[in-house]
């Protein structure tokens, strides 16, 4: 057992570990994949790693409300007593800045002159539905009947527990943004927005690469959002009280399906 704990793996196995969770650099991923496909042993080992990653990273168990309240009790008033005076001076201007940013988003969405950005798309992905939910495509059960910029919206109901619950379309500065809303098993709600035209600006935050696609993680108030570029168009998934991990699992599942189905054709994903 001691050896098992301390021995380090040879490069291939270490790379399988990273390949499975998307942390291997894209150029090395591209080199490695054909070699793995030639070996049933490596293919099985990779599949095993990927299965575990998917299972573990999709866990979305929030902390119980009682624990949150207890922790808030620890971080709230106690923390404010410890906050240095110089930092307190920034609290009010900070709140004002956040309010101004929120107002800016509203102005953009409701007819301002700016081009749409990722936060604007996210704002729409968190807004109310104005159209009924699209159905599942009878000839392609992985997708819904609705497409935007040639990209079909995924059907996540059967295997991932996110059922389409509505849709909306908006035009911001001449750019069409189509959104489908999904409701999860526990009543959580997310929106998946696809914007026509060139990739949007306003992408700030940490990014992770999965299957050669870069996903950017951002916060918008209490909501989490993930954006990426597919077929040259910006896709955004956003939700309140839904973890990055859960959103990323959905986004990567969608991209992975797309990557597999389009492997023979010209790549439609923006590889980095």
């Amino acid at each position: 057992m001691e050896d098992e704990m301390t021995d380090e793996l040879k490069a291939p196995e270490g790379e399988l570990t990273r390949l499975a969770d998307g942390s291997l650099p894209p150029d090395r991923t591209a080199e490695l994949l054909p070699q793995i496909r030639q070996s049933s042993e490596l293919t099985a080992a990779l599949a095993e790693q990927e299965r575990a990653v998917t299972m573990l990273r999709a866990l979305d168990e929030p902390a119980p409300a009682a624990l949150r309240a207890r922790v808030d009790g620890l971080t709230g008033p106690t923390a404010s007593r410890r906050t240095p005076r110089w930092r307190r001076a920034f609290v009010l201007p900070g709140a004002t800045a956040i309010a101004a940013a929120a107002a800016a988003v509203v102005i953009l969405v409701t007819g301002g002159t700016g081009a749409p950005t990722v936060p604007v798309a996210a704002h729409l992905a968190l807004a109310s539905a104005t159209l009924p939910a699209p159905g599942v495509n009878p000839s392609e059960s992985d997708n819904l009947t609705l497409t935007a910029a040639g990209i079909p919206f995924p059907a996540w109901g059967a295997d991932r527990g996110w059922t389409p619950s509505g849709a909306r379309t908006d035009t911001v500065d001449g750019r069409k943004i189509t959104t489908v809303f999904y409701t999860g098993r526990h009543g959580s709600r997310i929106g998946y927005a696809i914007t026509d035209g060139a990739p949007l600006s306003g992408v700030h935050g940490d990014s992770v690469t999965r299957y050669g696609v870069r996903f950017t993680l951002q916060k918008s108030g209490p909501a989490h959002l993930i954006s990426w570029v597919r077929s040259g168009h910006t896709c955004v998934i956003a939700g309140r009280a839904v973890s990055y991990r859960a959103l990323l699992a959905l986004a990567t599942a969608d991209e992975r399906a797309e990557g597999v189905s389009s492997q023979a054709a010209a790549p439609s994903i923006e590889y980095i």
Partner: protein, 180 residues
């Protein structure tokens, strides 16, 4: 180096709770562990280097071991009926979903200690390999090894198919074939 901001710690609560559950194997113990970890961290002003979540992982691990040591010194008594909790007291959760999360996290809790720590750091808390190595005082390559083997065990435990025979199924081993 920077001062740890107590008000920003709440954003890590959900991830830390799942990590604690995966360490303890029980939801109730996880709640206690998280609360104690926060209480310790907030007991005095802290200056941290690098990632906040990595710092919390280290604090969680230290608190976990500290609780284990304390528990081992205490006389052991069996649980009474009053100690028993329903499977999931929150009505908003789907029972099958809660059971699935619980099964997975409890399986992680059964892993050997080093495997479990690596897997919790990277796959549950979302640390990079480098951050995990720093938080767990190990080399990055060692973290990768432990992670590979931990995932292998978890995947096999939840696989519908029995493990095939052959050199690749020896527990803890990697595939024999090398890559160029």
């Amino acid at each position: 180096m920077r001062r740890l901001d107590p008000t920003s710690l709440g954003q890590h609560l959900d991830a830390l709770y799942r990590a604690a559950w995966a360490l303890c194997g029980s939801r109730e113990d996880a709640e206690d562990l998280v609360q104690e970890t926060f209480a310790r961290v907030l007991a005095r002003p802290r200056v941290i280097r690098g990632d906040e979540r990595g710092y919390l992982m280290r604090a969680l691990r230290n608190t976990f071991y500290s609780r284990l040591r304390t528990a081992s010194r205490r006389p052991q008594t069996g649980p009474s009926l009053d100690d028993m909790q329903p499977a999931d007291p929150r009505g908003t959760r789907q029972p099958e979903q809660a059971a699935e999360v619980g099964e997975i996290l409890e399986a992680v809790a059964q892993l050997p200690d080093d495997f479990r720590m690596a897997l919790v750091a990277v796959d549950i808390l979302g640390l990079s390999y480098g951050e995990a190595a720093k938080a767990l005082d190990a080399r990055e390559a060692t973290i990768t090894t432990r992670l590979y083997r931990a995932r292998q065990r978890i995947a096999r435990q939840f696989s519908d198919q029995p493990a095939s025979s052959g050199s690749d199924t020896r527990e803890g081993s990697g595939p024999e074939r090398s890559l160029a």
